[in-house]
Symmetry: C2
Subunit: 257 residues, 2 copies
Amino acid sequence: MSRLLIASIDRFGPLQNDVRDSLNDVAQEVEVIAAGQTIVSPGAPSRLRLLSRGVAFRQHVLAGGGRQILGFATPGDLLDLSGLFTGADHEVRALGPCEIRQISAHEVRLLIRRHPSLLAALCRAVMTEARVQRNWMVGLGRRTALARTANLLCEIYARQAVVAVARDNRCPFPALQSDIADALGLSAVHTHRVLRSLTKSGLATVRDGELVIHDWDGLAALAEFDPEGLRPLHDPRATVPARPAGVADPAMAQAFG
Amino acid sequence: MSRLLIASIDRFGPLQNDVRDSLNDVAQEVEVIAAGQTIVSPGAPSRLRLLSRGVAFRQHVLAGGGRQILGFATPGDLLDLSGLFTGADHEVRALGPCEIRQISAHEVRLLIRRHPSLLAALCRAVMTEARVQRNWMVGLGRRTALARTANLLCEIYARQAVVAVARDNRCPFPALQSDIADALGLSAVHTHRVLRSLTKSGLATVRDGELVIHDWDGLAALAEFDPEGLRPLHDPRATVPARPAGVADPAMAQAFG
DNA sequence: CGACAGTTTGAAGCGGCTCAATCGGGGTGG
DNA sequence: CCACCCCGATTGAGCCGCTTCAAACTGTCG
């Protein structure tokens, strides 16, 4: 029963029924991972891993001991797209407690060989991730600490809204201030002050592992948040209804909510 | 005759002979583009474009008028991977005069349908680009202006060394200081000072549209440059000889040099 | 109760920005 | 052939965002 996996891949271009059937037949391994544990090590043998619960992050550690967080993953995200055909070039860790489902590299290879449309979907997944990365690059290079932080919070919420994990303007986000700092290219101290100012402006609060949005419109405006950058790319031949930002995808919501 | 295109895609996993044959039969349009002109507009209809001569760059322009350069492309690079199945999310422009070769979206679609291994190769090309982006993110977030600049120069040289366009420690790089600034997330003034200090330290010089490396080892050390991050991903089932940084790929060199 | 991890707050310093002026080269029109 | 202009490189001065260092505070766990 890999309802979750099918729904997650389906976002990137409607899968044919025969692909769904094949995916259904594949043995799937479920694993629970504690906060802070490594999910994918750099260079690890490739598999197809789906984050089914929790929040994870990708990071690159520098020689000097510092690190840059390269992105966050929320339920419904595939974790090792960057290393599907080869070893991963970065590390993926659990931010909070996570649950993942994975299928072996061998199975993936068989599936892909049998169903080129699956490969196309995975390819679109990779392109979607690359697009999110570009948005981060813009933020790191050209946005102020405040806008950058606001943007991150918008992204975290919008991602989890799709799978209906975010509700009533709140969603899980078990990050330390130093984690947020390493994601935004800031110091932990300054990150704290920025978060503080966001709270005082009545925009959003990060506390006790939870993100609370007080004023979505205000936050999005400050961030110049573009939800388009998060939308999964799909097969252009198929018509997929566009949803406004922060609104759940029915299929994903049913699977993950 | 699409020798260049075949060699370029071949980097991302050896193509079967039948794929090569098909690529050979495809009509290819050659276009020359003046410096500064747009090659790919955001949302443009997808095609498969190869940069055969010159240097191009990807950029995202901000509401406030600023911009972030997201990456550079050198001969042998595919230009609209991010929009292969859908519209591009960013702009690609010619930095200096460029020559591109392209095949229509329709042709691409046919080729991909007929040859899944081609799709796999393109997928690896996308993943390779995503990896380069991650390296930029690390730089923008966590490296000093000096290291970041050094890193960029290393990347520009190493990319063009593969296709033997870079030789004798020099290669084309027709960027204004303001271009470099927008790539590194710096101001033009500060970029100038950093370049100046690199020159005075005897490491590298950017002048008259050309990059000259005076001390590769010193520059690479300052940059903590990792050539691994640029290496094209290829099919893990195939054995491809690893080449040290800055050394030409024989096939690419023959095609582009 | 102390030990520890993470948050909070203050103060000082620096990297990089902004503003502003000058310099240099290539093109253009007189 | 020269005067002019324009764009980009260059240089200086002052400022601000963010960093670093340091200390106090809070909650949690043994």
